[in-house]
């Protein structure tokens, strides 16, 4: 059995391939309870893939993911569900089922066969805590993308997971909605009971929120350490280039070359 509470998750030597194409190569890092670990890296680095592997939604080619003294990648299929129930993964665009936001928050609790009266109470508390009162009875199509992300986060937390994984929790939503989500994550960290792991391609956000940072680049884990290690004392040349923005410049240049244009034409056509 997987332990439902653990203080650390450790990823070791993780490989993943889409068909033949490698998306994760020898990825290793760890994340601890009461801290926010940001996985940073440009688009296509492998952040989403990494999270799917940890949540057993994608099968690693090799490697280990240790939690509570067990390698969760080696769990028999029957226990994969127990592992998923002890953690929560909020996808970049959370999918809300075609029912009210309130009913959506109840879904993970119903799947855990929690008594009806208890579900109602937990859901109501979450609605208040996450400021979802105005949209609680609305169906997903009437909810903005920022509200959807907030509802997705609330739905992930009603089960009090030991590990919360968030894929780009504030990408593509407005500053106010992003601010709210950042506040919830800070509050959750302050409570100290959860391992928080999030991806972001926003370096400013990583600086604001993270305690620990892991840089993924083209499927490889380039460097992991405390926020200060990564941003102020990078040991790796790629890390240094990424945190001061040079890699983004290189990516833009590569994309322009791929389009057969000089960067200047891109700028002038704006």
């Amino acid at each position: 059995m997987v332990s439902t509470s653990f203080d650390e998750i450790r990823v070791e030597g993780l490989y993943f391939h889409y068909e033949k194409k490698p998306a994760l190569k020898e990825v290793g890092f760890s994340a601890k309870k009461g801290r926010i670990t940001a996985v940073i890296g440009p688009n296509g680095a492998g952040k989403t893939t990494l999270f799917k592997v940890i949540d057993l939604l994608a099968r690693a080619s090799s490697g280990r993911v240790f939690a509570g003294g067990k390698d969760v990648l080696a769990l028999p299929p029957a226990e994969a569900r127990a592992w998923r129930q002890s953690i929560s993964f909020v996808m970049q665009e959370p999918y809300l089922f075609n029912m009210s936001v309130r009913q959506n928050l109840a879904v993970p609790l119903k799947m855990r066969k929690i008594p009806r009266s208890k579900i109602d109470r937990i859901v109501q508390d979450a609605i208040i805590k996450f400021g979802l009162g105005e949209i609680a009875e609305k169906k997903p199509f009437r909810v903005s993308s920022g509200e959807r992300k907030r509802a997705g986060l609330a739905r992930a937390l009603v089960t009090e997971p030991a590990l919360l994984i968030l894929d780009e929790p504030t990408a593509s939503i407005d500053p106010e909605a992003s601010y709210l989500i950042e506040q919830y994550l800070k509050d959750l960290r302050a409570e100290g009971r959860t391992i928080i792991m999030m991806s972001t391609h926003d370096l400013f956000q990583a600086r604001r929120l993270a305690d620990d940072v892991a840089l993924l680049f083209k499927g490889e884990l380039i460097e992991a350490g405390t926020k200060d290690d990564i941003f102020d004392r990078p040991r790796n040349e790629i890390t240094r280039k990424f945190v001061n923005g040079e890699i983004l410049v290189e990516n833009v240049r590569e994309s322009c070359e791929a389009l057969g244009r000089a960067p200047s034409t891109l700028r002038s056509t704006g």
Partner: protein, 217 residues
């Protein structure tokens, strides 16, 4: 009495036969469509295309095929089903399966990945996954069922050939229209035609409402 009871019995018979055929087809086609829609496999595109082309399968041809199957000399001739309501149900069932399965597969192929991943990520079981994929695609699936029912109700070729258009036994709305027209009872034919159109209208109306309510994001 007279034509009035004729008409109501023909209408009732048609609805019962077509609804039964649709229900049996749905019981086969929906699980099949969900199962295939949720999986990626080689040749899936071919199968989807096959279903799509069978959606427009001419009822008359289906009638002939089922006739060959059920006629005295045919492989299932010993069952003695030709010219019975059961024969019509069988033919309409086969006409309907590709419609329901095709619509179910394409809807689920497009809308199941996120549902599956979300359900598993929230701690759901395999049963939860199937349930959610079904309920989140309920509207397109029901649309498929209603389109199938509409087609069954309005087809004439298959029920004529395998049912035989026997009064008070296998006569449907559409085959009755053919008979009435032939007998010079044009007004009766027109009346039945109107009933058919009104029924079809209600089906389309219900469909539209369903689709409006289902608007996603």
């Amino acid at each position: 009495m007279g034509w009035q009871s004729d008409m109501t019995s023909v209408l009732g018979f048609s609805i019962i036969v077509s609804a039964t055929a649709t229900a049996i087809a749905a019981a086969v086609a929906i699980p099949l469509g969900i199962f295939m829609g949720m999986r990626e496999f080689k040749g899936k595109a071919v199968i989807v295309n096959l279903f799509n082309s069978f959606m427009g399968f001419p009822p008359v041809v289906m009638g002939v095929l089922i006739y060959l199957l059920l006629s005295k000399a045919g492989p299932l001739g010993f069952l003695g089903l030709l010219y019975t309501p059961t024969a019509i149900i069988i033919a309409q069932c086969f006409l309907c399966i590709p419609i329901i399965a095709g619509i179910t597969i394409s809807s689920i192929t497009n809308h199941s990945k996120k549902i599956i991943e979300t359900t598993l990520a929230l701690g759901g079981s395999r049963t939860d996954v199937y349930e959610n994929v079904f309920s989140e695609n309920l509207v397109p699936i029901l649309s498929g069922v209603m389109v199938g029912f509409g087609q069954n109700l309005s087809e004439v070729g298959a029920s004529m050939i395998v049912g035989g258009n026997i009064s008070f036994f296998t006569q449907t709305i559409t085959t009755a229209i053919v008979t009435f027209t032939g007998q010079g009872r044009a007004m009766d034919a027109l009346l039945l035609g109107t009933v058919l159109i009104v029924t079809a209208f209600f089906i389309m109306f219900a469909l539209t409402i369903l689709q409006l309510r289902a608007r996603r994001s």
